[in-house]
Structures are given as structure tokens and as C-alpha cells.
Symmetry: C2
Amino acid sequence: MITNKKKSKKERITSQKKIILGYLKSAKTHPSAEIVFKEVRKKLPRISLGTIYRILKNLKEKGEILEIPSDISRYDGNISAHSHFFCQSCGKIFDVFDKAPILKVGKLKVGKIKSYQVYFYGKCKNC
Amino acid sequence: MITNKKKSKKERITSQKKIILGYLKSAKTHPSAEIVFKEVRKKLPRISLGTIYRILKNLKEKGEILEIPSDISRYDGNISAHSHFFCQSCGKIFDVFDKAPILKVGKLKVGKIKSYQVYFYGKCKNC
DNA sequence: GTGCCTGCAAACATTTTGCAAAAAC
DNA sequence: GTTTTTGCAAAATGTTTGCAGGCAC
């Protein structure tokens, strides 16, 4: 007899997770994994880049942070409704709260929408 | 005296460029560089992956194709106004012509918008 | 013929993974 | 004590690049 005993593995709260999430929530920039590594290492000097990647992936899957895909992924601890502006001159990413289209999240012909993202591209004020 | 003699290098039309662009214009999927390589190699057996990447970058910069960033970049030969739906179950990308928000492209507080993209995430009809 | 473009292979950057030791519970 | 997580290093992946020969013009 095969019992479908699901070994529900319990997730643990570690200082690494707390500090990475805390850093992302406070960061106003949209740091890459490498930047998160450099910053978090100030508090946890022995942390490794592999751990950074593992925790970022974990937080993303739980929906606590956002991944902004690009040639180098960047991360956003602000999960409230807003969009992003990429400056094509300096490469910086800015938050956009105005003009963020609030779309009715629902059904499309192709499937059911769970979330969406809007990205703007252009030239920022400083460039 | 420094003369700003700009050596305007003239771009050449090669069979590689024509065939890659032709393939992307006809493709209904959103192929990765690897897929483009496999498909284009049917017509040009000696083409290399490096050339694929170089030409994709070139076409993107000229605005003839679109790059859809992700862990693996994918390319779209259709540059008319539409958005994309990512199925989080099967990984497929679908074109979305309905519900694509037509935003007034103009100025934001942070800078001037040149273009924008909308990405939907969810579960497709088949999954 | 000149100069841009390609094929090839090596280099590069980012991200993932296997494993033993450490930490959380 | 058990099980998850970490640090470390090595591997895997996707993409870029240098160079000599080839091709477009």
C-alpha cells in the first residue's frame, strides 16, 4: 500500500533571511544579487553569494520580494502596486507611482492573470 | 587640432541577418537564441551561436525585434503594440492583443518615456 | 581592394548545485 | 536529535569577445 504521506518540510527563520529581507525593504535602489551580497556582508561577514541567491529565490517564490528580470536580475523589496522606469542612458531603475496603470486583473483569452508588471523605458531627468 | 571625423561604418546586409529576421517575423512562438540557432541552422548549416547573438543584439538595437528579458532572453519579431502573458506552469509565452493597455507615452516625474512593456503572469488555458 | 561580418573557440559573468558542517527547532 | 540551512567550491548556463579568414560592396 502506498500512503501519500507528505513530509511537509518546515521552513526555518534564520538571521540570513531576516537581514536580507530587512535590507531589501529599506533599500531605495533596486539592488542586484551582488549588491545585496556586499551590503548584507557588512552585518554577516561570513555569508556567501550562494546563500544570497538561494534566499532571494525563496523570498521571490513566497511573494515577499519582486525580481526585475534583465541581463542582471535586480530585486525590489517594495511589493506595493507600482511600476519601473529604466533609464537607457545610465541604467538606473526608478519607481513609478504616477501613471501606473491599474489594470483589472482577471481573465484573458489565453489564461487567468495572477499578476502583471509594467516597465517603462526612456531617459531619466538626470541624463 | 582635433577633428571630429566620425568614421561612419556602413552596415552590410548579409544572408545571416536576412534569414534570422525572416525567421523571427514568421515565428509565432517567442524563441530563445538557442532555438533561433537550431532553426536558422536548417538553412545556414555553418552559422554559429555567436553570430546569432551578435545579430539579435543588432536587430534589437535597431528596433526591428523585441527582447523579452528573463533568465533566458527570448525574442519577438512582432513589434506592433501588444503585450505578453507568461504561463507560470508551462513556461510558454503568449501574445496578448486584448486588454493591452494603451498608455499615453509621454513624461513621468522621473523622465521621458520612449517605450513601455506590459507583462502578465498566470496560468494558461492548457494548464 | 577595403573594411565589415562571420565561424570558431576561448573567455566571461551570473546563477545553480553538491556536500559536509552548523544552526534552528 | 532531527531536519533544514549555510558556506564553500565547483559546475552549469547563457552570453560576449578576439582573431583570422570570408564576404559584401
